[in-house]
Symmetry: C2
Subunit: 317 residues, 2 copies
């Protein structure tokens, strides 16, 4: 089962699972503002089952889960500003849904292996860099608070009930099929769209550093997390190839596109007050436990993204 | 406004506020299994207003909050095992209710001063003792996860919106008007009841150490937290007079009663797996910021508790 399987990372994971010969059950409620997009499974739509349902529908989940060996729990609300505007909606999707789903697992599928899509957002503003998993958990927005709770339930069910559950604390993930309509799946989506529309994109400040994971590398991380018994009960950072300033990312994107323009801007005030500043992950723990390593470099990943959206632009705007 | 004002600590606080001449509005939904008890306000019932409502009723709260200068946010589900049995109910009361209430404050009472009843449970199993506020937040039960989220919203609203909100991380609070029917408000309630019924009480293991706050000292802490501008945005431990083993507590209780019997037992398995082990607070930060100090010693506090319940036993069982 892949919750949020019509979304950006969820569909990449579902595609990979289909390639590997798995029976894939996608649960997705196609929420407004989410990354869900039926076009994301174009080409595999006849090889997956799609249940258009809310994961909070515990009765439905209790019917579906007993047939599943792995649960990739990716359904989420990802917008930071959106979480501040509607904290209760964010809580429902990012905290309550996981509590409900785990209760269903405990009741009808206690042997299932669960990998949860956590986030670097749990750390808040880093007090040291790179950030490893011993860094204090101190989220600075509603989304971070609710994702912290959602993750904590998973780890708790592993520790208390022996359930095989773990969490991947994702950083900026980018690639084909991401949401490019707006910045709900990071600013990279908006940048890609502007480049494809031949408009200058906006670089806020520019010196800030982040790390980036190509979506297929993130999908591989989920597979390894769910398949590695030693990952049970752990929360693991997922990073990329090290820190990149936004200025450097802009240059790399322009290079991947064979040229592009951008403009420097100040950080908007309402974003600034929930912004986490520089972040990059120390993901050596996950690499050690599972053997994972990112394979796709930044320029190559951006090139693949541009190629994909160039061909399929109309399905994403 | 005192949410949970018919409860154990909420009613002590309301009584003290009445003494100080405040206009007190109690909001309490008299939830089953909570500490709410109409008898807790016996003697002040004509000097307070009671709204029997759910704090999640945002429309009602928006009507009531503009008249309030202070919000003591104590409404909670306190049972640890209960939170494991019904995680979603715990989430509603301990996380969602605070998000909802803070949104109402932001909309209609942005100048209000808010003091939240947090808990030592956010720390999980202490990795060092005494525990100060820099200790990692790593709750080990559903109640701890949801209270962590509830507290985090308060601190976030202080940091992001400049709201005057803080949290008190309470430890074992005991005293008159606590719930003695069961152990939802710590095991001390069950011990008191057994002593009053002249039955032996059960001491699980006995060597475990905890600290204890007399309820009037806790009420005073809430008053100081809400009235001290420097407390804004902080999470503060509240402790007592230092660590006491359960064996020593049993002896003190027997002394306070002029004799009592108890039995040693093993920890029940379902409790053991969510138990936090030894805990005592370093509460020097709160003492420094507000000038607070506990006034009532353990034996005196237990004596007052026994006296109260001896007279009013029928209202609590």
């Amino acid at each position: 089962m892949v919750t949020g399987g019509l979304g950006f990372i969820g569909s990449a994971l579902s595609r990979r699972l289909v390639e590997l010969g798995a029976d894939v059950l996608i649960v997705d409620r196609l929420a407004d503002g989410s990354g869900a997009n039926r076009f994301n499974i174009a080409g595999i739509e006849n090889r997956v089952t799609v249940e258009e349902r809310d994961v909070r529908d515990e009765t439905a989940m209790r019917g579906l889960l007993p047939d599943c060996r792995y649960l990739f729990n990716l359904a989420a609300q990802t917008g930071h500003l959106e979480s501040m505007r509607d904290p209760l909606a964010d809580l429902e999707v990012n905290a309550r849904a996981s509590a409900s789903l785990l209760e269903a697992c405990r009741a009808v599928a206690p042997e299932i292996s669960v990998a949860f899509a956590g986030t670097r957002q749990v750390y808040g503003r880093p007090e040291r860099l790179p950030v490893d998993e011993t860094h204090p958990v101190r989220p600075v927005d509603v989304n971070g608070i609710n994702k912290t709770a959602g993750e904590a339930y998973h780890l708790l069910y592993a520790h208390v009930y022996g359930m095989r559950a773990c969490s991947l604390r994702l950083t900026n993930t980018y690639g084909p099929r991401m949401r490019i309509k707006d910045n709900r799946q990071t600013f990279v989506g908006v940048w890609l769209r502007a480049v494809l529309e031949e408009r200058p994109f906006e670089v806020w400040e520019g010196t800030q550093k982040r790390d980036f994971t190509y979506v297929d590398d993130a999908a591989e991380a989920f597979l390894l997390a769910a398949a590695t018994p030693e990952a049970k009960g752990g929360a693991f950072n997922i990073g990329g190839h090290g820190p990149v300033s936004l200025d450097a990312l802009a240059e790399t994107l322009a290079r991947a596109n064979g040229g592009a323009d951008w403009e420097r801007r100040e950080f908007p005030a309402e974003r600034k007050r929930i912004d986490i500043g520089d972040y990059w992950a120390d993901d050596s723990l996950f690499r050690r436990v599972t053997g994972w390593a990112p394979r796709v470099g930044l320029e190559e990943g951006l090139r693949r993204s541009l190629d994909y959206f160039r061909t399929n632009f109309a399905h994403y705007v």
